[in-house]
Each structure stands twice: as structure tokens, then as C-alpha cells.
């Protein structure tokens, strides 16, 4: 006797717990792998899942078995030309044909354990332990988020929203109101009827019949009152209310003067992109403003920002001026969380320093959530670096600077800038 059971609808992911435990146990290795991946990846596919590889020896489960060496005998199939007593050179790799196939199920890459994590897990690992400083300072109205609230009772609505208690109550009230007079009259007549005592005279008999007739008419009329009428129906009224949703704007500021090579720009691009991804995890709605500058600043689209070549000197204050301008025009600080990231090789026109200082301390830093500056390339800190170091003393909470030498530094520097700070 066999039973055939359809288990296809049973829950899947029976292994989820075990998988989570594995990820938890090897968190450190996975994070390293993620961090390597971040450095190697194109920015476009930064958001995909990732195949993670961990050295097999790190996750091996040790078991006792024989090691290499000693004398061993193995029977193999498929003899073609060997005869008893033949001596052959030992095949490459020594144990290559030992027959007890070493994890041959996974084919090549035998030293690495490779598996896939999803996109969200990838970002999770990427931004683990990072936090946006001052994130909750302002959370104001966005526009695309609504919630429904109870807002009293309405005469119109759809049947599923009908408020039964209110409907029945209103129906009863109507019936009482409309039938009141008649019911009172009927009560009176009934009293009169009860007053007749047998035997009755002929006139009394007639009167009684009249009264009985009248009661009957009244009863009929009362019964004709509808139990429920259209204008008794009451509906719950729901109103759409916009829900506060945090929104952020991110300013990317980059120097595009002659001294900025494409390499440096690529490094900057990585940084901007990481920041964008990170903001995206925290805010539902993000706008990005690209501002580039040489001696003059302009707001441009992304393509132009990263790939258009410009030459000329460097006046940083032009860009800062522009940032401040855009903030005041389009992103009122009381409604927006403002983040800014500036990337530059650090060059600045000496006479501009003072203006920059003023702009930063008066027009920008007081309004932004967090301002990060990375200086790329060069072994020596440049003018801008010195200037910003000075400013940083007064704006420890929302101003961070760091120096980056090459691609590989980006992710560590990013982590450093956004490390969770306990003492906040």
C-alpha cells in the first residue's frame, strides 16, 4: 500500500535557519569578501548580489582520515595497456587518482568555497555597522506616502465600509420619529377600547367597531414604515493623509580642473556612488545634485559630471557658493536632509581660501546633515585640506575629511567616515 502526498505547497526555505547561522558564523570572512568585491566592481553593478568566496580551509569541518604517504593499493577500471609488473612514473599531483575523489563535486576552484548572497544581503554586509550621523534630526513631509485614517461617518460610501451600528441606530430613530404620533393615537384608542364593558348598547357597539377599525388602520400604517431606508445607511469615512517620510538630497561636488585626471574622477565616482547607495538604504526619496567646478561652478547632469573634460584653474568657493544657492532655492533645510560630498585633488587658488572658509562655516555647514570631503591622490595634503582641517574643529559632528590614495582606499575610507559613533 502506498500513500502519495503532494508536498509542493509546503513551505520552502526549510534551510533558512541553517543558512543564517552559516552567514553569521562567517560574518568576518564574508565581510572581507564583500569589501574586496566593492573595490573590484563596476559602479553600475554595485547593487547586485554577489558570489562570495571564502577560503575552504576556514570553513572546513575537520575529520580524521588518512593523509598522504605510506603504501596504498587502489583498484581502477579501464585498463588499456598495463600488464602485471609494469612500473610507471607517479602521476602529477601524487594523489590525483586516489579514487576517493576530493570534493570533486565542486569541480575547479577547490580551495575556495563559493556561494551566492542576495542583493540585500550584499548591501547589508557592505554597510554593516555604518550609520548616518544626524539622521533623525529632521524628518519631514515627502509626498508619495499616504496613510488612511478614520474620519467620522459619511452618508455615502461603498458597502464594505458600512457602519452597521450607526445604520441600525439611524433606522430605529427614523422609525420612532415617523411612527410616534400614530403609536400614541393607537395607545389612546386601545385604552378607550378597554373601557367598554359588556353588555354593550347598540351605539356603544358601533363606536367600538369604529375604534377597532381605526386601530387596524393605524397598525397597518405603522407596519408600512420601512425597517431600513436608503438614508439610514451610514458609512465609515476614511481620509488619505500624507505620511511624513524622510527625504534627502545629496550634493556631489567635484573639481574638474586640469589637474583632475580621469583616474581621480573614477575614484571620486566610486565614493559618490557608495554614498548614494548608503543614503538609499536610509531614505525613501533621494535627490542628487551634481555640481562641478573649475574657476566657475555649474550644476550638471550625471553624464557630464563624470565624463566631460574641462580645464582651467581652481576656485573652490564658486562651487560652495553654488551649493549654498541650490540649497536655498530648492531644498529648504527644514524640509530636507542634506548631505554633501566633495571630492578634489586639494588644489585651490590661494586668495580663495578665506572666502571658502566663510562660505563653509556660515552658509553650508550649519544647514547640512553631514559634509564629507575626500582628497584624492598626492602624497602631500594640499591647500584645501589644511583649510578644512581648521574648520573641522568647530564642526566635529557633521564635517568629516579623509585622504584617499587609490581605488582600494575608497571603501575603507567610506567606512571610516560613517562608522557608527557611540558617543552621539
Amino acid at each position: 500500500m502506498s500513500y502519495i502526498i503532494d508536498r509542493r505547497l509546503n513551505s520552502k526555505n526549510k534551510s533558512t535557519v541553517n543558512r543564517q547561522r552559516f552567514l553569521k558564523r562567517y560574518r568576518k570572512q564574508i565581510r572581507k569578501s564583500v569589501s574586496d568585491a566593492v573595490n573590484q566592481r563596476n559602479i553600475q553593478d554595485m547593487k547586485q548580489g554577489e558570489s562570495i568566496s571564502i577560503p575552504k580551509k576556514d570553513i572546513s569541518e575537520p575529520v580524521l582520515s588518512h593523509g598522504q604517504g605510506g603504501r596504498r593499493t587502489v583498484v581502477h577500471p579501464g585498463n588499456k595497456e598495463f600488464a602485471e609488473g609494469d612500473r610507471l612514473p607517479r602521476p602529477e599531483g601524487g594523489k590525483g587518482r586516489s579514487g576517493q575523489g576530493e570534493a570533486s563535486d565542486s569541480g575547479e576552484g577547490m580551495d575556495e568555497f563559493v556561494f551566492q548572497i542576495s542583493q540585500s544581503e550584499f548591501l547589508e554586509f557592505m554597510f554593516e555597522d555604518l550609520a548616518l550621523p544626524n539622521m533623525v534630526k529632521r524628518q519631514l513631509m515627502g509626498t508619495e506616502c499616504f496613510s488612511y485614517h478614520q474620519a467620522g461617518i459619511s452618508e455615502v460610501g461603498n458597502p464594505s465600509q458600512m457602519n452597521l451600528v450607526r445604520t441600525m441606530r439611524s433606522a430605529q430613530a427614523r422609525r420612532i420619529a415617523l411612527g410616534g404620533k400614530k403609536r400614541k393615537k393607537r395607545r389612546e384608542l386601545q385604552h378607550q377600547l378597554a373601557a367598554f364593558i359588556d353588555p354593550l348598547s347598540k351605539s356603544e357597539q358601533l363606536k367600538k367597531e369604529d375604534i377597532e377599525e381605526e386601530i387596524e388602520i393605524l397598525t397597518k400604517k405603522l407596519n408600512a414604515l420601512p425597517f431600513i431606508d436608503e438614508y439610514d445607511l451610514k458609512y465609515n469615512l476614511k481620509v488619505k493623509r500624507p505620511k511624513p517620510s524622510p527625504q534627502a538630497v545629496m550634493f556631489c561636488v567635484m573639481d574638474v580642473s586640469g589637474s583632475m585626471t580621469q583616474d581621480i574622477k573614477n575614484i571620486a565616482k566610486r565614493f559618490f556612488f557608495l554614498l548614494y547607495l548608503f543614503l538609499q538604504r536610509n531614505y525613501k526619496k533621494i535627490e542628487v545634485v551634481f555640481i562641478r567646478h573649475h574657476t566657475q561652478a555649474s550644476e550638471v547632469d550625471e553624464e557630464t559630471f563624470f565624463y566631460d573634460r574641462e580645464t582651467g584653474g581652481t576656485v573652490v568657493s564658486s562651487a560652495l557658493e553654488k551649493v549654498s544657492e541650490v540649497i536655498h532655492e530648492r531644498y529648504p533645510p527644514e524640509q530636507w536632509n542634506i548631505y554633501a560630498a566633495q571630492a578634489s585633488d586639494g588644489d585651490n587658488w590661494p586668495n580663495d581660501q578665506a572666502i571658502c572658509h566663510q562660505l563653509m562655516t556660515e552658509k553650508i555647514l550649519p544647514f547640512v546633515q553631514y559634509f564629507t570631503y575626500i582628497e584624492i591622490g598626492g602624497s602631500q595634503p594640499q591647500e584645501l585640506w589644511h583649510l578644512y582641517q581648521g574648520i573641522q574643529k568647530d564642526f566635529r559632528d557633521n564635517f568629516a575629511t579623509s585622504r584617499v590614495e587609490n581605488d582600494a582606499d575608497i571603501y575603507p575610507v567610506f567606512r571610516e567616515l560613517f562608522e557608527k559613533r557611540a558617543s552621539r
Binding site: 502506498s2 500513500y3 502519495i4 509542493r8 541553517n18 583498484v75 577500471p77 587518482r97 565542486s106
Partner: protein, 502 residues
């Protein structure tokens, strides 16, 4: 009995399966298996699942329920990865040695494949589980599912109470030693979940007392040092290391002992499967082949069905040569199937050679002989008894000796008259777990001194232990909590290698 000449309508002509068709096929296959070939089986419970569920089943060693552990997550991840890359197809089936015998069918399979799996798993493996002596004595098909349920609940409770890190560490250590958690020779009591649960509490209290007894180290009276005979504990070598730990480790808490026990019980449950790979797969493959052919003879299946079935069957029993890229040892399906077929041939059409080599089975009733072989052998003895010269020739088997003291490797024997016997002996030895796995036993505990635990590895053919050994000893140390020493001793009793963790 149905007259083979009497042709019936094919059961189906489409490749799509339905539940009604599964039932019909199962009924027909079951009928032939039982009436014609006397296959005695547990009742079948056939479960249809999706491929992702199959992966889940894979990664918890094929069991429908199991406790949680990261290593199962690891195996799930690698299964998933390989599957997505198309590197491996999932097995068509998983079958569990339980009563009723649970088999999984994947929904993606065609009707032909489902029929093949039903014949293979539900009647082949199933009858093997029920008939083979190893399974009969070592496993309890009635109790296993309940036991796993018990284990899962118990371990989950421990995780709640003592923290999952603690439990995980303990399981890691037990898993490292799980190959040494089996009784190889002693007959165990079959496990039964109910009894297990009842006895568990009693055991907790009792064991704790018992252990304290061993560790009562204060001597009753002073004796002359020289005349104290060195007493070894345990008095005999103990092969079941986990058992020894469970009963004797000084500081394990009762729940920890219970978990050690769970791991070793489950390991014991799988032990017969490890010893009967060739036979088990050979038997199941032989029967799906025979049963489906029988159906064809009765006209129950179409030519198209047979073509699809044979394509799949052929790839299952393919044996790549040693120099092929696909070679990874001898394919148990190939060897097992060939041997089962060969036994039938020897019974039905023996040659002179067969009569010389197998005087007692040549010409006998093949069905009886085959049942007898299935019931009373394991891989090692099965090969030693039944591998015929004809098969050695067909497989072109040859014996290679690889000695690290020699520059070259030598061909010791090939498929010729002088070689048959040796090839057969050595191939049989290859399936002897006692030979394949290092022979390690508990040798002594210094109960009067520093409680050092000494294990002994009896070396064979100078084969050393692998690089994991140090790690495994660390795990053992975690359980024992005092110094652990593992000595590799060669045939002359000289210690060649020593591992220590203190």
C-alpha cells in the same frame, strides 16, 4: 499471474504525470515487484516536492527533519550554487530508511522518470532497507523519524536554555568525531524515540553519579608504589570515541552528554548505508531495470517510455575509465548493477568458468540467490564473494600499488587468470570501512594522575593521519577538558607520530 503474451493497453502515452497516473504506475510496479519477484517492502510514502525543497532535503543529509546547525547551511549554499550553475542535476530521488519508507519525487520529472524513481526507490531501496542484515540489526526504521523529532526538539531547547553558541560549539566537536561515534562490531540496541525520551531523564541523574565514581581518586589505603599494577582505563580498547566521551568525560553537563549521544546515534543510523553503497544502489538499479522491462513485456509502457528510461539508466550506470576527465572512482551504480545482473546470468546461463568459480550458485534459482545475497552481505563481503572474472574483464580492472618509498608506482594485477583473485580481494578491501578509515581507539585515561586521555592509531601500511588531525584533537579536548594525546603506532608498536592538545 499475468500471461506475458497477453498485451495490455499502455498506462499512459504522455510525458506529463498526474497524481492518478502516479497511483496507477505505483500499483502496477508494486504488483510486479511483490507477486513476481517477491520484493518485501515497508509501506511507501511517496512525496512530491519542488526542486528547492529537494535542495533543502539534500542539505540536511536527506532527512525530513533534523536539528539546526551551520554546517547544514553550508551544504545548502553549495548545493544551491552548483544547481544554479547547472553543474549538477539534482538527484531524481531521495529515499529514507523509515517505516513507512519515505521517497521524494521531484515535480519537474517526466512520467517516465517518476516511474523509474518509484521502481528504484520505493521498491528497490525500500526492500533493501527491510531485508539487509545490517539495516535490520543496526537501524530501527519505525523509530527514526520520531527520534529525529526528539533530537530536534531537545537541541532547540538546549539552545534556548544555554545559548546557541554553546550548543553550536558542542555540535562542532561532536561532528568532527562522528565517524568515531559508531560501534563497528558490537550490536547496538535499536533506538526508539519513546523509550529514549523516558530513559533520558533517568540517564542524566545516573550518569552523573557514575562518573563521579570513576573520578574518586583518593586511594583507600596507601600501597607500595612498585606493586601497584598499572591499571588501564578503559580496560579494553574502545572504538566508539563519542560513546566513551558521553559516558566518561569528567565535566560535561547532562544536556551535553545527551547531545553527544544524539550525534552518535544518528551517525550509527547512517553507518549501514556507508557500508552498503554498491549493493544498495546496485540492488535498486537492478530492480528498476528489471521491473520496467517487465512492464514493457506486459505492454504497460510504450516504446518511447523505454527509450527515455534507457537513456537515463545508461548514464546512471556509466563507468568512466581511470584516465577520463569524469573519473572519480568506481561508480557504485555501475559496479552494483553489473554484479546483480551478473549473478542472475551465472544462475541462468553459467559458463564453465562460472561453474568453477561459483559452484554453489551456478545454475541455482536466480531470484533466491539474489535475495540471499542482498540479505546477508555488505559491500566488502559481497564483492569478495560474487565479483566474477567476467566482470573484472569487462571493467578492465587493475590493481595499482602506490608506495611512497618507491619512485614509481606499480601495476600489481590485471584482468588475467593470475590477477582475478587479487583484484577481487583488493577491491573488496577498498570497501572495508575499517580499512578505509584510520583505526583509532581510546587507549587509556590516566585516572590517578592528570586525567590525560590517550588514543591510539594503529597504522596500516605506514599510512599517516591527515592534516585535520590536530584540529580534531582540539575538538576532542573541548569535550574532555584535560590533555588529549593521539599516538600513531606502527605494526611493531613504535610510535611514529603524536598529536597533543592540552
Amino acid at each position: 499471474m499475468i500471461n506475458p503474451k497477453q498485451q495490455r493497453e499502455p498506462l499512459s502515452t504522455q510525458s506529463e504525470w498526474t497524481f492518478e497516473l502516479l497511483e496507477t504506475y505505483d500499483r502496477e510496479i508494486g504488483r510486479i515487484a511483490k507477486e513476481k519477484f517477491k520484493l518485501d517492502t515497508y509501506p511507501n510514502q511517496i512525496e512530491v516536492i519542488r526542486s528547492d525543497q529537494m535542495m533543502d532535503a539534500y542539505s540536511s543529509v536527506g532527512m525530513p527533519i533534523n536539528y539546526n546547525h551551520w554546517s547544514f547551511g553550508k551544504s545548502f549554499l553549495s548545493t544551491e550554487k552548483n544547481y544554479q550553475r547547472g553543474r549538477m542535476g539534482l538527484a531524481y530521488e531521495i529515499v529514507i530508511n523509515s517505516n513507512p519508507c519515505i521517497s521524494y519525487l521531484m515535480e519537474e520529472n517526466t512520467m517516465t522518470m517518476q516511474a523509474l524513481v518509484i521502481a528504484h526507490a520505493c521498491y528497490g531501496h525500500n526492500s533493501f532497507f527491510k531485508g539487509n542484515y545490517l539495516f535490520k540489526t543496526w537501524t530501527d526504521a519505525d523509530g527514526i523519524i520520531d527520534y529525529l523529532q526528539f533530537a530536534r526538539t531537545y537541541i532547540a531547547k538546549c539552545e534556548e536554555r544555554y545559548g546557541f553558541e554553546e550548543v553550536e560549539k558542542l555540535l562542532d566537536s561532536c561532528h568532527a568525531l562522528s565517524n568515531y561515534g559508531v560501534d563497528r562490531y558490537k550490536r547496538p540496541n535499536p533506538i526508539s524515540a519513546e523509550k529514549e525520551q523516558k530513559r533520558q531523564q533517568e540517564r542524566e541523574a545516573y550518569i552523573q553519579q557514575h562518573i563521579n565514581d570513576i573520578w574518586r581518586t583518593i586511594p583507600k589505603q596507601k600501597q607500595d608504589e612498585s606493586c601497584v599494577e598499572e591499571v588501564r582505563f578503559p580496560p579494553q580498547l574502545e572504538e566508539n570515541i563519542l560513546y566513551f566521551i558521553e559516558k566518561n568525560a569528567p565535566h560535561l553537563a547532562a544536556w551535553q552528554r545527551e547531545i553527544v549521544r544524539i550525534v552518535r546515534k544518528i551517525s550509527q543510523y547512517f553507518y549501514p548505508q556507508k557500508q552498503t553503497q554498491v549493493m544498495n544502489e546496485g540492488w535498486a538499479t537492478f530492480w528498476h531495470y528489471t521491473l520496467l522491462h517487465e512492464m514493457y513485456d506486459e505492454g504497460l509502457v510504450t516504446d518511447g517510455f523505454m527509450l527515455e528510461f534507457l537513456t537515463s539508466h545508461t548514464s546512471v550506470v556509466a563507468q568512466p575509465d581511470f584516465d577520463s576527465d569524469y573519473y572519480s572512482g568506481i561508480n557504485p551504480y555501475a559496479l552494483g548493477f553489473a554484479m546483480m545482473q551478473d549473478i542472475r546470468r551465472i544462475c541462468e546461463n553459467p559458463t564453465d568458468e562460472d561453474k568453477e568459480w561459483f559452484p554453489d550458485i551456478a545454475g541455482s534459482d536466480w531470484l533466491e540467490t539474489l535475495h540471499n545475497a542482498m540479505e546477508n552481505y555488505r559491500d566488502e563481503s559481497f564483492i569478495l564473494q560474487f565479483l566474477s572474472p567476467k566482470l573484472i574483464r569487462e571493467f578492465h580492472l587493475f590493481l595499482v600499488e602506490d608506495d611512497d618509498e618507491s619512485e614509481t608506482i606499480g601495476i600489481e594485477a590485471i584482468h588475467n587468470k593470475r590477477g582475478y583473485q587479487r583484484v577481487r580481494e583488493y577491491l573488496s578491501q577498498q570497501y572495508n570501512l575499517g580499512y578505509r578509515e584510520p583505526n583509532i581507539q581510546v587507549y587509556n585515561v590516566d585516572i590517578r594522575g592528570d586525567r590525560r586521555l590517550t588514543l591510539q592509531h594503529q597504522m596500516h601500511d605506514r599510512k599517516p593521519l591527515n592534516d585535520d588531525t590536530g584540529e580534531v584533537i582540539k575538538h576532542l579536548h573541548r569535550l574532555w577538558e584535560y590533555t588529549v594525546v593521539l599516538d600513531s603506532v606502527d605494526e611493531e608498536g613504535v610510535t611514529k607520530q603524536s598529536f597533543r592538545c592540552s
